[in-house]
């Protein structure tokens, strides 16, 4: 058997310039790079911002048990964000990791939906937001677990179990508060009313989502919507609440047009790593 030819310096130079996965192993990355990066930012930012928001409850929840429930959900979401944003950085290939994306981007560069940045309000408003978001994320992750990108599929398959619990817990609270006392019922209705106008954005089929759908990276949003609406209808019926009246949808988060609330959240979230860039603990 002939021995392999020697590796010449110029060969080595070529090899060093190829991506870590190997130029022939990962042509998909090149082709889908921009779309995949965009969708991963959306996924990562959704989880990151809601995780940070829920973290604001820490030490302030109605009871120590609820405090732990909310912190657990927050930590699940931040774990998901870490996976999605690390992968986004890898796909982008410019040396940014999840931390760099989370802590060194400015507000206009965030791609989360407007729903997750909305203020906590009271516990009912927080649960309204959680149900509306988790019910969507659950159905989305169910589909993403079959994504054409196996790295996305792996993250979604792991996270969907966490999200199924978030959705259940939020549904339980919406039912109890809705079908509770006069005050809890009024607060639950107000909370849903506040969050309702941000639901259509979850199902917005903008250019990037349509493109991602065409590449097998994103599910059919109409299909998601059907399952979502059915689930909400069941929960609201059990909560003896009417769905809020249709409101003018507010869109823009996916393009970086955020509400004023996000800037304040990001200031708190990014303060430490920006003030002490190399801080470790």
């Amino acid at each position: 058997m002939p021995s392999l030819p020697p590796i010449r310096p110029e060969d080595e130079e070529v090899a060093l310039k190829t991506r870590p996965g190997g130029a022939f192993d990962a042509p998909v990355d090149e082709e889908h790079r921009a779309t995949l990066f965009e969708m991963l930012l959306r996924l990562g930012d959704d989880s990151l911002i809601l995780g940070q928001r829920l973290g604001e409850w820490c030490g302030h929840a109605p009871s120590v048990e609820v405090d732990l429930s909310l912190a657990n959900i927050a930590l699940d979401l931040i774990g998901q964000a870490t996976h999605f944003l690390n992968l986004a950085g890898e796909i982008e290939g410019r040396g940014r990791d999840g931390d760099a994306l989370a802590f060194h981007r400015d507000v206009l560069d965030f791609r989360n939906c407007l729903l997750v940045e909305q203020p906590n309000g009271d516990f009912a408003q927080t649960m309204a937001r959680q149900l509306l978001f988790s019910a969507w994320q659950k159905r989305l992750f169910d589909q993403l677990a079959a994504s054409s990108d196996e790295r996305v599929a792996a993250i979604a398959a792991k996270a969907v179990k966490e999200v199924a619990y978030h959705e259940e817990l939020a549904a339980e609270w919406v039912i109890r508060l809705g079908d509770g006392t006069d005050e809890s019922r009024a607060r639950m209705a107000d909370g849903l009313d506040w969050m309702w106008r941000f639901v259509p954005e979850l199902f917005e089929l903008d250019e990037a989502a349509a493109d991602a759908n065409g590449r097998g990276l994103w599910p059919d949003v109409d299909l998601l919507r059907t399952g979502y609406d059915a689930r909400l209808q069941t929960v609201l019926a059990e909560a003896t609440l009417d769905a809020p009246k249709p409101q003018r949808p507010i869109l823009g988060g996916r393009r970086g047009h955020h509400s004023e609330h996000l800037g304040h959240l990001i200031a708190v979230m990014q303060f430490l790593p920006r003030t002490y860039p190399d801080a470790v603990w």
């Binding site: 109605p62 048990e65 609270w173």
Partner: protein, 94 residues
């Protein structure tokens, strides 16, 4: 708020084959939420594979005033301990 919620005792089975063990208690408005609070409070570090919650009010406790007659008589009955038997090595969880 939690002062209005009843107390529930929480039991965790650490793995299949083991008995559920009392680990603590949670406040919750009803059984379903009690189970979720128990999950979020006591199994967040992989402590268990199964949970029981029981209304604390359903626990019938012995009266501390009866301690002497309830427990002292067992003190000098050393022959009731099973330590006089050899247990085969492959019998676990005894």
């Amino acid at each position: 708020m939690s002062k209005d919620w009843p107390l529930w005792e929480v039991f965790v089975r650490s793995k299949g084959g083991m008995a559920h063990r009392h680990v603590g208690s949670v406040h919750a408005p009803d059984a379903e939420i009690a189970l979720r609070h128990a999950r979020d409070t006591y199994t967040r570090r992989m402590e268990g594979v199964s949970l029981w919650v029981v209304p604390s009010a359903s626990i019938i406790a012995s009266d501390p005033r009866d301690d002497a007659q309830m427990f002292d008589p067992a003190e000098d009955k050393i022959y009731r301990h099973p330590t006089f038997y050899n247990i085969p090595d492959d019998v676990k969880h005894i």
